[in-house]
């Protein structure tokens, strides 16, 4: 009870109502936008990419829990994603289980996989953990590749059934792609709510304590080993659930070395988190959208002059540039910039500056990187969340 009241108090202190309205309202509008994607995108190819982005958001949000919150570099995320996809594909093809059963089953299977990997891997720390998870991911892929009787080996599994209809609403990925998109999107919103609730709970506080200082976390009574396992299991659950949608969407899954489930493919999800912002709740979401639609955008702008490969290179260069110049990611940078803008505008207006001057000052402060302008303590303080 004491904890609950304490965290509620800290919550209202952290997010006063005026703050919720000023910062989070525009954000909420942005967050609702993806719902209208079927109306916005002219082709089903773009909508199909939106489905991919929604699936990536779920996986990236899961990785966010173990990587950004608990500070553990897991390279097994795509393997757990594959475990979810294979579990649901096999259960569907052999037993014809309903979608509502497949989703938790795949999630729990991947969470179990994460726990089994985590039990030995969390006995080590730092890079050893990353390498052990990488090894397990590769082992899982090789099992899928060679256990012909179960997984159909390197040929993979084809799934023809669409998700079960919900009353009159059908989710076939060809005829009813907008419906399937909305279903996937709903789960990506759920994943976002999930990481928000985790961040606010004592669970999330313990994860962050472990990330920040493991020895100190132990000294104040946090069971570091168990909480790392919990973080990894949660991230596995997210990946497993995403696997179900991936399986329905792709209709065919295979375990080749270049498949999206291969161990090194996890790098792509780590990249999403770094681009979007490791310290921000929306970081993985923004990163996933950028990674999926970024190449499309670059190609749309430069496609007339360059081949697709060339524009991909330009996109890669832009990613490297963004990680170098914005270490807090797009979300972190935007938030810092917004806070700087509001704070500068307020203080400048209080000093009686002309509104236009105030606006220009605030805008320049917010957009020019801090290393190119003098440090201002009062602004730095507000940029922290």
């Amino acid at each position: 009870m004491v904890t609950a009241t304490g965290s509620l108090q800290s919550f209202t202190r952290q997010y006063p109502l005026s703050d919720l309205l000023s910062i989070r309202l525009p954000l909420a509008v942005l967050l609702i936008l993806p719902v209208f994607a079927p109306a916005i995108f002219p082709t089903s190819r773009l909508l199909s990419l939106a489905v991919t982005a929604a699936i990536y958001v779920i996986v990236a949000n899961g990785l966010h829990v173990v990587f950004s919150y608990a500070g553990q570099l897991s390279l097994a995320q795509t393997a757990l994603w594959g475990l979810g996809a294979y579990t649901s594909a096999l259960l569907l093809n052999h037993f014809g289980l309903p979608t509502l059963v497949l989703i938790p089953a795949a999630g729990l299977m991947a969470a179990l996989g994460a726990v089994l990997i985590g039990i030995p891997a969390f006995r080590t720390a730092g890079f050893s953990f990353a390498i052990i998870t990488f090894a397990f991911a590769e082992i899982m892929r090789l099992i899928a590749n060679n256990w012909d009787e179960l997984t159909n080996g390197s040929i993979g599994i084809t799934v023809l059934d669409p998700p079960d209809a919900f009353g009159p609403v059908q989710f076939g990925t060809f005829e009813h792609l907008p419906n399937f998109y909305h279903l996937t999107l709903a789960f990506s919103y759920l994943s976002l709510i999930g990481i928000f609730l985790i961040r606010q709970s004592s669970l999330g506080k313990n994860f962050i304590a472990i990330r920040e200082n493991e020895t100190l976390a132990k000294s104040i009574g946090i069971n570091v080993y168990v909480y790392k396992l919990i973080a990894f299991a949660i991230s596995g659950f997210f990946a497993g659930v995403a696997g179900v949608f991936f399986m329905y969407h792709q209709k065919h899954i295979e375990p080749g070395p270049l498949s999206p489930f291969a161990a090194f493919a996890t790098i792509q999800f780590l990249l999403m988190i770094l681009i979007g912002g490791r310290r921000s709740m929306l970081g993985p979401t923004i990163g996933a959208i950028v990674v999926v639609f970024g190449p499309e955008l670059v190609n749309a702008l430069l496609g007339d002059w360059l081949t697709f490969n060339r524009s991909q290179m330009i996109f890669g260069g832009l990613l490297a540039l963004s990680v170098l110049t914005a270490p807090n990611g797009i979300a972190g940078q935007t938030r810092d910039g917004y806070n700087t803008f509001v704070a500068t505008l307020r203080s400048s207006r209080e000093r009686g500056h002309h509104p236009v001057f105030s606006f220009l000052l605030a805008f320049s402060r917010a957009t020019i990187p801090s290393r190119f302008r003098p440090r201002d303590e009062s602004l730095d303080k507000e940029a922290q969340l």
């Binding site: 800290s10 506080k205 304590a209 920040e212 200082n213 100190l216 000294s219 104040i220």
Partner: protein, 248 residues
Amino acid sequence: MTGLLSVEGLSKSFSGVHAIEEVDITVHQGEILGLVGPNGSGKTTLFNCITGFMEPTRGRIFWRGAEITGHAPDQIARQGVVRTFQQKMVFPNASVGENVEMAWQGECDDGDDGATFKTCVDILDFLGLAQVQERLASDIPFGHARKLGMGLALAANPRLLLLDEPAAGLDQEETRELGELIVRVRGLGITVWVIEHDMPLVMSLCERLIVLHAGRKIAEGEPTVVARDPRVISVYLGEKFARSSAAH
């Protein structure tokens, strides 16, 4: 008087080097106990063994009559034995207030003596850190960081607080403040055991003093008595001085 924590025949050696040898210590409920000794005498190693950060080579540790030898650090902390560190130990990328919230573990496990503080804000007020609670823990001055380190330990709801050189790196004024703070901590019903080099602080603060030298306990008792012990004087000031002071 019953012992809150008792250490029996504790030894710890690192590949043949004996850091602690056959140490017996009893900590009594409600006291402020001092632990002094030259550098390398095994003080921090003793704390590490008691709090589970190191496994003792031999010997047993009892907390309220139950053996806790070899338990995990977090398990021991949850039972109410919480330590601080010599180094600056905080959660760097979080504000001072968030630091305490992260450490906040609510009620104590054993249930019989409830939480000392009702909220995290109480802890910040108690330490005088309320003004800096919005600041990043990595940015606050050293003296504040020290207090925050103690605040994190308090947030874990200790019954016995082990302080490892809390005055190291503090100036005179801060040291005096720290002394008052430790007395106030004891006033909350928390037993305090402190490793400290600052002798004036130790003499004024502790009701009982234990001296370690080369891993062995060489003296124990009232601070004024211990300070006159020839063995203690010889450890700190050399054989010659001990003989001459004994002659007087």
